[in-house]
């Protein structure tokens, strides 16, 4: 079911006007969907994770593995995809393949699946990988990546289990993508091994936005309020954005298809326990 169709059902209308509107929208949207939406109905994921940051040219602190249990849960729930780690996780996976000079392969990896996940280190609108490749360790999501656009063009949701990537003060640097939602942190988070999995599982009944902030506020079992999880949602306008934020459910299978483009509005929700 298309965005316009579902969204129009939730908008207040009356009688025959509503039926006519719904019928027209359904026909148009079905046609558009079939022609243009490569990710429609496909529960696919792509995960890159860096845990080894020692002596590989991209120095930082070694990390715990936070996506293998997420991958298992995705697989158990009918999703299919790929997970690559360390030497097989490349910055180029997120570089826009149509941009000159980057040798990007997001058309094959980072932007070729409905849900795309990176776990490692980061900074404002950037990701740091553990192994240097072609002299690169990082991805600037502002300058080098175009998710849901151009090469690949299939990402609908992106998750960054990294420090500061969705820091509120530089949120606009994450605006160059045509995705429905981006999940990340306003600060440097403490993330236990299974928390991304628990987030995904929670989206069976909760919206993505609520599940992300609820599951990520603390490292599981702690009351220190270490994390400031944030969800950035995109929509056509203010009410459509709020509708996507309050509707989308990954595991619940709600809004698992390419959004209408281009988006004109962003909306975000965050538990604020401090920033970067």
């Amino acid at each position: 079911m298309s965005d316009q169709f579902q969204y129009s059902l939730s908008a207040p209308r009356s009688g025959s006007a509503r039926i006519r509107c719904v019928t027209q929208l359904a026909i148009v949207c079905l046609a558009v969907l079939l022609a243009l939406n490569p990710a429609w109905g496909q529960k696919t994921y792509y995960i890159d994770e860096s845990t080894d940051f020692s002596g590989n040219g991209c120095e930082n602190d070694d990390l715990n593995d936070v996506t293998s249990s997420l991958r298992n849960s995705l697989n158990a729930n009918g999703w299919t995809g790929q997970r690559w780690t360390n030497v097989s996780a490349w910055p180029q996976d997120y570089y826009e393949s149509t941009m000159a000079g980057l040798s990007g392969v997001d058309n094959l990896y980072g932007d070729n699946f409905l849900l795309t996940v990176y776990a490692g280190h980061g900074n404002r609108a950037s990701l740091q990988f553990g192994f240097k490749r072609d002299s690169r360790c990082t991805v600037s999501l502002e300058r080098q990546a175009r998710l849901g656009l151009q090469g690949g063009n299939k990402a609908v949701y992106s998750m960054y289990v990294t420090s500061c990537t969705l820091n509120l003060d530089s949120l606009s640097r994450n605006f160059n993508h045509q995705v429905r939602q981006q999940f990340g942190y306003h600060n440097s988070p403490a993330v236990k091994d299974d928390q991304p999995r628990d987030f995904f599982n929670a989206t069976n009944s909760k919206t993505n936005a609520r599940a992300w902030i609820d599951e990520m506020e603390d490292r599981a079992g702690w009351f220190t309020g270490d994390n400031s999880p944030i969800v950035l949602t995109h929509g056509l306008d203010s009410s459509h954005c709020a509708w996507v934020r309050d509707t989308a459910k990954l595991r619940g299978g709600v809004l698992l298809y390419t959004p209408p483009k281009p988006w004109g509005w962003y909306c975000w929700i965050m538990y604020d326990h401090g920033g970067c």
Binding site: C137, D193, R210, G225, C241
Partner: protein, 339 residues
């Protein structure tokens, strides 16, 4: 002249004495400072105890006396979620209630208030703290928490924000829709990282969420003091915070990196890989590391938390957030792409 000299000398002596005392307090542990180790454990509660707690907490959130107890609702899911217990309280259908047995943690959200993201007004923080304190007292009155275990004065205040705007930048807004007030379990003035209460106060003035529970501490109370029982022992502090902070900078920060400290304090932290343990307070530093990266940029690590012994200067630092398991590395190498 002699009198002026005498007064000046006396003033200098007093100043030196005060300064010296301050230095002594900062630089050396006070001789009488006693600490204690306690047995702590994640308790395994019976279903009746959990549902009774859920009902009492639901009454605090709704402000109503609920006629029937919470009932356990089966979760239609596999994997980790099945390790959680979902409950429903008749008479409070808007409440989403989960219990996490692994952490003895009850989480309740009022879904109607959570969906109310357009506040009519900005609530002052003082007002939110008063409302949270009222809910906190109600939880104690219903025996969900023990007031003696908490120091309200050390409560942390965070916020839930919503915002948005147009791509062209002509319109933007940011609103606080909730205060989230956390007070942790405290033992003789030292907080426990793994037990506490978090109360969310919605902009409407209602309680919108609760999170409570955590480890249990084996202790007895003598006057105002919580004393260890079982294997717990009284200890004498031998290392000052200042020295441990210096040690942190010396031992934990690599040469090329810069530490960004989120917080540091003396705290009890339950080892993550144990269900029960003898826990002594540590000097705990929660931090991230900033490293140089491509083209003059920097990369910031995810959060790390490390603890230093207050009683044994030779004890190695403790990683308080260790991996739950060894990283699962993909065996296959990703094929080189055709560009």
């Amino acid at each position: 002249m002699k009198r002026i000299f005498t007064v000046t000398l006396a003033a200098a002596a007093v100043t030196l004495a005060i300064a010296g005392d301050a230095v002594a307090q900062e630089g050396k542990p006070q001789a009488e400072e006693r600490l204690a180790s306690f047995e702590m454990a994640w308790p395994k509660l019976k279903t009746e105890a959990i549902t009774a707690r859920a009902r009492a907490a639901a009454e605090v959130i709704t402000g109503q006396q609920l006629s029937r107890p919470a009932v356990v609702a089966p979760i239609k899911s596999s994997g980790a979620s099945s390790r959680r217990m979902q409950m429903a309280v008749p008479g409070a259908p808007a409440l989403e209630i989960f219990y996490l047995p692994e952490y003895n943690e009850l989480r309740i959200v009022d879904t109607e208030l959570a969906a109310s993201t357009t506040p009519g007004r900005e609530m002052p923080q003082d007002e939110a703290l008063k409302l949270a304190r009222r809910a906190f007292d109600e939880l104690a009155r219903r025996n969900v928490i023990n007031l003696r275990h908490y120091d309200w004065g050390s409560a942390d205040t965070a916020s839930t924000w919503v915002g948005g705007g147009s791509l062209d930048g002509k319109t933007s807004e940011k609103n606080r829709i909730e205060y989230r007030i956390t007070v942790r379990r405290s033992i003789n003035g030292i907080e426990v990282a793994n037990a506490g209460v978090r109360i969310a106060i919605h902009a409407s003035g209602r309680v919108s969420a609760l999170r409570l529970g955590g480890v249990e501490v084996a202790s007895k109370t003598a006057g105002d003091v919580e004393e260890p029982i079982g294997k717990g022992r009284w200890l004498s502090r031998r290392v000052a915070n200042k020295d441990l902070q210096t040690r942190f900078e010396r031992e934990m920060v690599p040469e090329k990196a810069k530490a960004r400290i989120a917080w540091s304090r003396v705290m009890y932290v339950m080892p993550e890989n144990k269900r029960a343990a003898l826990v002594e307070p540590l000097y705990v530093v929660s931090y991230s590391l900033e490293f140089p990266s491509d083209e003059g940029q920097t990369a910031i690590s995810r959060r790390k938390t490390v603890g230093f012994s207050l009683v044994n200067p030779e004890a190695p630092p403790v990683d308080l957030m260790p991996p739950a398991r060894a990283p699962k590395i993909e065996k296959m190498r990703k094929p080189e792409e055709k560009r």
